[in-house]
Symmetry: D2
Subunit: 344 residues, 4 copies
């Protein structure tokens, strides 16, 4: 059985395990105050083309989102997000558990627009008594989105401008950031994202690490005391070096991008096969997640040799499913899948 269910079915990009082994007996400070974390932060700052940023390492995505958002908001403020955004759908109310409402915007492609944000903002402040409603303060976007689409430079610039104009914070959930940056349709890069966002994170868990997300904070108001929040929310790893070692390894030789490119390319092969077969897609994804809409009968057949994620019912006889690729996906397995798609 070959699994394409998600991008965290395997362990880690092998060099990470090697580095963990060779450094195993080094004695270091705890809580990410070690030399590996410092080195990883240095290299990330370099890649972001900016030294005036703070870099923190956390273990997982939900933890990262709730920590950043809790740091950014006063109690009566909320986070604006697409209704399909991860913080609104798949984090068991983690944001609300820190006391904050998620203010949702409609979206069919997983993205939100500067115009939507402006309208929400205006609608709040045009209320007779705005204090009776949650004040929008942070705008949450994911790139790629939960359904694989990506923001263009123009879209992100518009969002960033709107946020700045209205004193909102722009935060990008980059759980799969590598796959966005290496997509054939991408026109963004780390320095641009750093400039346009107040904070974002570079996802490790879904891009080759055992676990780990690197939070980049550019906005000064978000920097202060951030480590207190990491600790309080349970995200401060005792052996923080593990995070430093992983991110150092991923960025040292641009492994992060090579991994992502590998995954995206294989995903494009799956995409092409589906198109050739005449299947349409739930979303226009050029990243490592593909969401073809397929006949249930075909899906049933595929199941004999392949695992995928069931996404949603489309009509009586068709469903959207998800195929994921990653650093660990072997081309031969993708070819087997393509062959199956073609022949079933």
């Amino acid at each position: 059985m070959i699994s394409f269910t998600c991008d965290y079915t395997e362990g880690a990009y092998p060099k990470i395990l090697e580095k963990l082994a060779t450094t195993n007996f080094d004695q270091t400070e705890g809580y990410s105050e070690d030399e590996y974390c410092r080195a990883a932060a240095r290299i990330i700052k370099e890649k972001c083309g900016c030294t005036n940023i703070d870099v923190h390492f956390l273990v997982g995505g939900t933890q990262t989102n709730l920590t950043v958002i809790a740091a950014a908001l006063r109690p009566y403020q909320g986070a604006v997000a697409a209704a399909t955004g991860h913080i609104n759908t798949h984090e068991t109310g983690a944001i609300e558990a820190t006391g904050h409402k998620v203010l949702t915007l409609k979206s069919s492609d997983g993205k939100i627009t500067a115009k939507q944000v402006q309208e929400l903002y205006d609608s709040h402040y045009n209320e007779d008594g705005p204090e009776h409603t949650v004040q929008p303060k942070l705008v949450y976007i994911s790139n790629p989105t939960e359904i694989g689409t990506i923001y263009s430079r123009a879209e992100l610039e518009a969002l960033s401008e709107t946020c700045k104009k209205n004193n909102l914070l722009l935060y990008m959930d980059g759980a799969r950031l590598g796959y966005a940056l290496c997509s054939e349709k991408n026109d963004l890069d780390l320095p641009t994202i750093t400039k346009l966002c107040d904070a974002f994170y570079i996802g490790g868990t879904k891009v080759g690490a055992l676990f780990g997300e690197a939070v980049v904070i550019r906005n000064e108001s978000l920097k202060e005391d951030f480590r207190y929040l990491i600790k309080q929310k349970g995200g401060m790893l005792a052996k923080g070096r593990l995070l430093g070692i992983q991110f150092q390894t991923l960025f040292e030789d641009d492994a992060y991008f090579k991994i992502s490119e590998h995954a995206d390319k294989l995903a494009m092969l799956i995409r092409k096969a589906c198109i050739e077969k005449g299947y349409s897609f739930l979303s226009d994804s050029y990243t490592n997640q593909q969401f073809p809409i397929m006949p249930d009968a075909v899906l049933e057949k595929l199941k004999e040799n392949f695992l995928y994620s069931y996404w949603q019912r489309i009509d009586e006889s068709h469903s959207a499913v998800r195929f994921c690729t990653s650093w660990a996906t072997k081309e031969e397995n993708v070819l087997k899948l393509i062959d199956a798609i073609k022949t079933i």
Copy 2:
């Protein structure tokens, strides 16, 4: 420089890294629903002598404490703990951040007694309007405590009985549980702890794992929906297998206990050297943490070759410090330390 600052200065017990390497390309389910986690849970149930328990794997101690306590309490209830308890002192208000007060009891040895708990309970319910004060509901103890002392079987039985009688939950923070169970003074074991506590955790981070804590839940009322809480609080590791693999490795051949015994024995050597030198101790610890009270001048000298944790000032010329041992501590380094203690 040889460091005795804490028990998480190195990576992991080597077999763990080996197992991570050999399983690296296995494809598994995420979120601890994989075969490794199931195997680890099975072996832990065996060691606890009880199949009717739930075992969950979380990443770190603060996260574990806040998740268990949030699961146990209704909004107006509090956790009873020694004033020196980790949840009261070194978790940046993580418990309060979930909405709950820590109700503190005085303690000079890090432990609390059944009598103290009963008095606090009575004092609450004897109030004219108890609803004006926080209702005690969960009793938090750490074993070993933050200063290395351990609970005897009789002490734990008394606490357990008092809790049961008053419908309180007893929860043991076992961040360093191995070091308690392998102490020469210990008369507890996992099956007894399982019987006497409503929940506890077996610490991995400080006892040989890269990270990870295994929560054992015996009380039925705590079992329901626990995974929702793990997820919401940011503690659900995507590649949950990493936790399963580590705990499986630690318990398969009793490595957990061998590691702990190794550390405790070396700690006893340090203890003995200090006693011979005439130093007294901050606490009567027979576990891997030793807290001798030493002349500042001696400490200054020791610093040239050894790292320790400064704990607290005792008088103008003496301080209590902490020396920790672990799975990674080499006997030769302990002998060097002892030699230094003797000769300075």
Copy 3:
């Protein structure tokens, strides 16, 4: 200028002030443990046709909603509500501030249906990993709704049955309950509501009191320790007698219903005038709030002598507005308004 902006523009039903004056020097216990509160609870139990209920008195609606919902939910559970529900729109995220997500259902008439609740429930539990999403637990409805519509007995029975079947709690926000119960279209009464809901509140603030809401709890699981929650959330009035005196006065001679009937009747006059004029309505309300859709030019004219609440723009030249009546509304003022509506 005559105001129809809301139902709390004046003080209180005069008998309340009289009773406050005559009892002013009585010495009573604080915190609603006085004879007036006991008397008020007794009479409310009588009106609800049930002695096995708990009655608590709180000051305001948002406070009441957040207290009941915080009492009902475990941390990962959410409250299901119409997207237009008060807890979702006009309480500044008070529910989220207690840690809980509001799970919204679409609604054009302010109401939600049993079918919608069942679908949401099924959709949650049919998820592959339901623990990644907020668990629905309490169903919040308002009666009348925020736009004046009311639940029929059949609708409430269906909701109640669905909730019971799925172990959900049904909670009714009765901020304006009197106006629902006295509507010409109503077929519910307090005993039926008591039977069908797990908890609800009888609104005082908007129905003749200076302030105050009477929470009725029928479900045993919600009763325990409720006073702790009132206190913790800041809702326990020191001079609790003020609440007892008010509700005693309102229910002693059915003043509550007489007031509501008065308001509803006057609202029907406004409604009729609008219909005769050919205006349509935002909602089909037979309670004290009327939401006619009127030409902006007409509204402009009306403003010269009357205050109303602007509700929302309908098209380029029409808007929906709200006219409210209450115990304090004088028939002569309504006649003046009607005259203006007819003649402008």
Copy 4:
């Protein structure tokens, strides 16, 4: 039976009821945006000798404390208070329920000192990793304290200076502020308190109002968006005018101070009687609460005609109790009590 149990056993200072009656049919804006609230705020600003302050009206003390503290703190920050402080003992964990730890200081007289605050502050920032502990940010004091003692000008100046120096906020709980300001030992006044505190509240509930507390905010950082917090925490009264009317009435002719003086004077009579009888006191109170330590046998006898609050056991045959006076206390009843004290 004559009750001295607390200062909220009766209704309200009669002029308040009169004013409520005469204004009952006025139509006003809701939520404290009416003319009465504006007038009350104006007069309070005058009394505070400062126009650059914000004045908000809330219903009760616990609500006020939790709202101000939630407004002041970021999630990882705590409120410093005497262990005997109201927020630490009698608010059912209301502060913790907003996510914040109360950091306690020892106190035998209910007060805390600038030195204690400085030591706590230093101890936090001298930690190796301060981010592992709660950051002190707001200093909470009550004046008079829970046991009737008051802060001198010098003490408050010292606290204020220490707070300013360390960027801490100083907040005074003035639930019984009138009784402090009218005490024969007092050397503070409203303008001085306004200058020295970042925020404080003037208690109405315990000083003649039906209910109500007037929050005064001087520090700019606390002013922004405060109404959002009032609303979210359930403290925004729909008929806000009730608060305006009450505070206007209390301050218009200095009734607030006359009431307080009346109560303090009667309390001094009780105090004197106790001293003459040779009784000692739990605290050195010159305000409306007196805490004599009396033989249990005497207390038993007193119970036949008088109600008091039992405070705490002192030894086998003695207890501390509380006698409270207020605006409603009649001199003849105090004389009866004194007579009983003298003759029993």
